[in-house]
């Protein structure tokens, strides 16, 4: 339905997207005992780390190969080897995920080749699995980096098999970058309700959910255990959450013949119905568990209550493609009108399916302009949207990454029957918070003449 237009300007004002290497690093943090390593100058890591810490309010292990002017010219393979060695010494990780940056990619380094050579030579690194994804900053955004990292993980760690030996109770849940820890938990709950055991990859619900653990670690705490990733070959099915996970699901399909189903969005009644139907079929459960039934009934009721506020609501949304699509379609299904949609990456088929005329590939400057032109009533984007919200005097619902001026971003759940219900409440309440008492001028009427007005006076003594 929608057409993608690229904003025509040389300067990007108030960037919307976060960079691809950051997305890759985030995906790597969903593996247990991992340290993500960015191959670039140390600033690439420092900025990324500050960004992650501001969002999650957690210490985040993130390392750099610290390229300097010499390695920028002569090549950084030695830096990678040294970095792996130093990280292993300091943090004993089970997994190191490397992501390249614009600096390494502009010089055109063959990191994959160099890394193969290093790992073949350094057998002492064997206890740590090292995975590499090419994620130049100049191509795509956070979502693309995340997808490339997950593809790199499954390519490296899911074994190629010639014969299916499925575990009929296990499903692989490939989670996109747009899922919060709470949303992963909700999906796990739903899958388990059907007697299935999910293998979640990458799993931020254990590592970045915000908890006090009782000891300090230089690696990620929680996440998908490295050894478990190979078991994805035995799952009865791969459920890819988000269009961005299609690539990784395909790789598992090609390597291990595991059939895949992609769910581009899981917010709103119909998308969740599709997911529940798939779980019913997969588990051979003709009757859904009572909790699922009840959650659906409650979502229906929330829709009835919320539609008074969402019907005709003019929404401006800016986010990575999958998040924009998920929330945008859910609101459109509730009668809202998407008057401005801005996204970060051209690499996604869901952009074409957005329920609006155009999607802008641009920044928050474009977002503010489009929201103004479209006379939006509510803004949906990440925390940097506060500048637009301030300028336009509109409520801002903070979604996606980064959310740094509110706490508890990891606990927001906007998918499944329960999360959809919460999302509708959020929207309806934001709308109701705009307090406006009707005035005669609103309708072109004149107020009663002055002469009828009571003039307060003090009592005579």
């Amino acid at each position: 339905m929608a057409r993608l237009v690229t904003a025509r300007h040389a300067v990007s004002t108030n960037p919307l997207k976060s960079s691809a290497p950051l997305g890759a690093a985030l995906a790597y943090l969903g593996i247990e005992g991992s340290v993500p390593l960015l191959h670039g100058a140390q600033g690439c890591t420092a900025f990324g780390m500050v960004h992650l810490v501001r969002h999650f309010k957690e210490a985040v292990p993130l390392q750099t190969t610290a390229m300097n002017e010499v390695t920028t010219i002569l090549g950084g393979a030695e830096q990678i080897e040294e970095a792996i060695e130093n990280i292993r010494k300091r943090a004993q990780p089970r997994f190191i995920g490397i992501a390249s940056t614009a600096l390494a990619e502009t010089r055109g380094e063959d990191v994959a080749g160099e890394l193969r050579e290093i790992l073949a030579r350094r057998r002492d690194f064997d206890a740590t699995r090292v995975v590499y994804a090419a994620t130049p900053d100049f191509d795509g955004g956070l979502q693309d980096g995340w997808a490339k990292a997950v593809e790199a993980i499954v390519s490296a760690l899911v074994p190629a098999t010639q014969q299916r030996d499925p575990d009929l109770r296990q499903v692989t849940l490939l989670c996109g970058s747009h899922l919060t820890p709470a949303e992963i938990e909700e999906l796990v709950r739903m899958v388990r309700a059907f007697g299935l055991e999910p293998l979640v990859l990458p799993d931020l619900s254990g590592s970045l959910d915000g908890h006090v653990s009782g000891n300090w670690s230089g690696t990620s705490l929680g996440g998908t255990p490295v050894d478990r990733i190979a078991l994805a070959a035995r799952s009865v099915c791969t459920l890819a959450i988000g269009e961005q996970m299609r690539g990784a699901a395909r790789i598992i399909e090609d390597r291990a013949m595991v059939p895949a189903q992609v769910f581009p969005a899981l917010t709103g009644l119909k998308p969740v119905d599709g997911f529940v139907r798939a779980l019913m079929e997969m588990s051979g459960t003709p009757e859904p568990p009572p909790s699922i039934r009840r959650d659906r009934a409650r979502l229906m009721d929330a829709m009835l209550d919320a539609h008074f506020f969402t019907g005709g609501l003019r929404v401006a949304i800016a986010a990575d493609p999958d998040l924009m699509f998920g929330l945008g379609t859910a609101l459109a299904a509730m009668g809202a009108e998407i008057v401005a949609a801005v996204t970060t990456s051209q690499h996604s088929p869901v952009i074409g399916q957005m329920p609006c005329e155009t999607v802008i590939l641009g920044d928050l400057g474009d977002f503010e302009r489009a929201a103004r032109v479209g006379d939006a009533q509510i803004l949906i984007t990440h925390s940097h949207g506060r500048h637009a919200a301030h300028a336009l005097h509109l409520p801002l619902l903070r979604v996606g990454f980064p959310v740094f001026d509110r706490i508890g971003a990891q606990d927001a759940c906007r998918l499944g029957y329960r999360g959809s219900r919460a999302f509708l409440y959020e929207i309806a309440n934001a709308v109701q918070a705009i307090h406006h008492r009707p005035r005669p001028e609103d309708f072109g009427a004149t107020p009663p003449p002055e002469e009828f007005s009571h003039v307060p006076h003090s009592a005579p003594c």
């Binding site: 100058a41 960004h51 955004g141």
Partner: protein, 510 residues
């Protein structure tokens, strides 16, 4: 990297104004003071980050980052430098170089157009253009583009040549300051000057800290003419060469700029700090002393002493109520440079015990002061690994940690109170009243009743006293009247409920 930049870096590292540098041998001075970064064990920002930190607080300037997305996209809008006027500096502006731009060599043209768009849309006092790793690697000449753009549109366009790979944040601070010295300072003349005009270099007005000090200067009639770069206007920086005195606040990074101002324009400088009571007083005395040397009336010194006496008494009186709440509590300080000793002395005055203070980024002078205040150097340490710090805090080695955001979670996860004293903080702690605010923050952190609850045992930490066995359920639920006999459904639920009599539509009152 261009020869010009290589020479520039060699030059800023050979700093006669820096005590550490002058103490070095001829050979080691040549190698510069940049530490080789260790891959896989490095922390902290790059040179670009440093330049941005140094210059971004100039509020009416558009800061345009010539780079692929990450440099600006991951880093904009993340510091709390405050402005009393223009908000232009808050914009996140980048050329967002794409693969196509890089492959086709369109970087310079895109930059030129971007500068134009920025000038058209925001009418900034100037455009600062930052080179980064990628734009340096593909050989974009930002100097030439800035020159052409300045000539064409009349808005000063200032090149800041700081690709991240050349070094650390500290080097970036220096290179940013160099850009100001080369292209900005001395380009405009103030309408009037007074004998009370000063420069403040190295304060970024984070969370409004400059404004905590400004009332003191206002009362003495001292005018901040040049500021690098807290709440600065472009014109202020351009006129900085007409000040009488320079106060250098963050000495490590900006000493070169201060020295050059002295060499070229004859403006004397001193290093001082506005953290802590005694430091604030010292700084005011030095400012006034130097101003008098440069021709201000001598009565300034008297007014200054009167102000100091009044403000110190006021601050001490304001601090006194906190004494019983913080006395005897143990502080671990993990910050850099000048903040250490001045804050240490103020906390010790209140009876707090400082169990350790880090000496990262501190000068010899700073060290001497700490020894002087604390008696010996046994409490000084260089770096502490997070795990080590975590263990120390968890084992109750300190009651509160004062540090920057990097170690925030080390303390919090060890269930130890933490107070932010670094640049990213959102509270202002400068000047006399800032010290009161800091102690108040320490009090709030230390004495929050939450800590006792957090540290108390979980319900399952103690074994159950007796192995009590629950009696079997008896009778029926008072609400549902379902009998406590599993397997039997009560008759009331086995058949459908009767529908209430009356019309099916009469329940709505309409």
């Amino acid at each position: 990297m261009s020869d010009a930049l290589t020479n520039r870096i060699a030059q800023v590292f050979n700093e006669p104004g820096c005590a550490t540098n002058t103490a070095k041998s001829e050979v080691s001075r040549k190698t510069g003071c940049t530490k080789q970064l260790t891959p896989g064990a490095a922390a902290g920002g790059c040179a670009f980050d440093g330049a941005m930190i140094a210059l971004q607080p100039i509020v009416d300037v558009a800061h345009l980052v010539h780079a692929p997305l990450a440099c600006a996209g991951n880093g904009w809008d993340n510091r709390s430098a405050a402005s009393s006027g223009a908000e232009t500096y808050r914009l996140g502006l980048t050329t967002d170089l794409t693969e196509l731009d890089i492959v086709m060599g369109q970087g310079e043209k895109k930059l030129f157009r971007a500068i134009h768009e920025v000038i058209e849309a925001h009418h900034p006092a100037a455009v600062f253009v930052y080179a980064t790793c990628v734009s340096a690697l593909i050989g974009d000449d930002i100097g030439a583009v800035c020159k052409a753009a300045s000539a064409k549109w009349g808005t000063p366009c200032i090149p800041v040549d700081v690709p991240g790979f050349v070094g650390s944040k500290n080097l970036g601070n220096k290179l940013g300051a160099e850009a100001l010295f080369d292209h900005v300072i001395g380009t405009l003349e103030p309408e009037t000057t007074t004998p009370y005009d000063i420069n403040i270099i190295g304060d970024f007005n984070l969370s409004g800290e400059l404004w905590q000090v400004k009332p003191l200067l206002d009362r003495l009639g001292i005018r901040i003419l040049g500021s690098v770069s807290g709440d600065a206007r472009y014109r202020q920086v351009a006129m900085a060469h007409r000040a009488r005195v320079t106060m250098l606040v963050c000495s490590k990074a900006f000493v070169t700029l201060a020295r050059k101002l002295e060499e070229r324009w004859g403006i004397p400088y001193f290093e001082g700090s506005f953290y802590g009571i005694s430091d604030t007083s010292d700084a005011l005395r030095r400012i006034c002393g130097l101003l008098i040397e440069r021709g201000a009336p001598a009565e300034l010194a008297l007014r200054c002493e009167a102000l100091i006496a009044e403000e110190e008494a006021r601050a001490r009186a304001a601090l006194e109520p906190y004494r019983p709440r913080v006395e005897g509590r143990r502080v671990l300080l993990y910050t850099g440079g000048h903040k250490s000793w001045s804050v240490v002395s103020a906390l010790m005055e209140l009876g707090m015990e400082v169990v350790g203070t880090s000496m990262r980024k501190a000068t010899e002078n700073d060290r001497e002061r700490v020894v002087q205040i604390m008696g010996d150097d046994s409490h000084m340490y260089e770096n502490m690994a997070p795990r080590e710090m975590y263990t120390m805090l968890r084992d109750a080695g300190a009651d509160v940690l004062l540090s920057g955001g990097r170690s925030q979670f080390v303390a919090l996860k060890a269930l130890v109170p933490w107070v932010d004293v670094n640049q990213e903080k959102h509270e202002a702690y400068a000047g006399y009243m800032g010290m009161v605010d800091l102690v108040r923050a320490i009090d709030l952190a230390l004495n929050n009743p939450m800590w006792a609850d957090l540290r108390s045992p979980a319900p399952w930490d103690a074994p159950l006293a007796t192995g009590a066995v629950l009696p079997a359920p008896q009778g029926a639920c008072p609400i549902t009247h379902i009998a406590a006999h599993p397997g039997q459904l009560p008759a009331a639920l086995a058949r459908p409920l009767a529908v209430a009599s009356g019309s099916a539509t009469d329940f709505e009152d309409c």
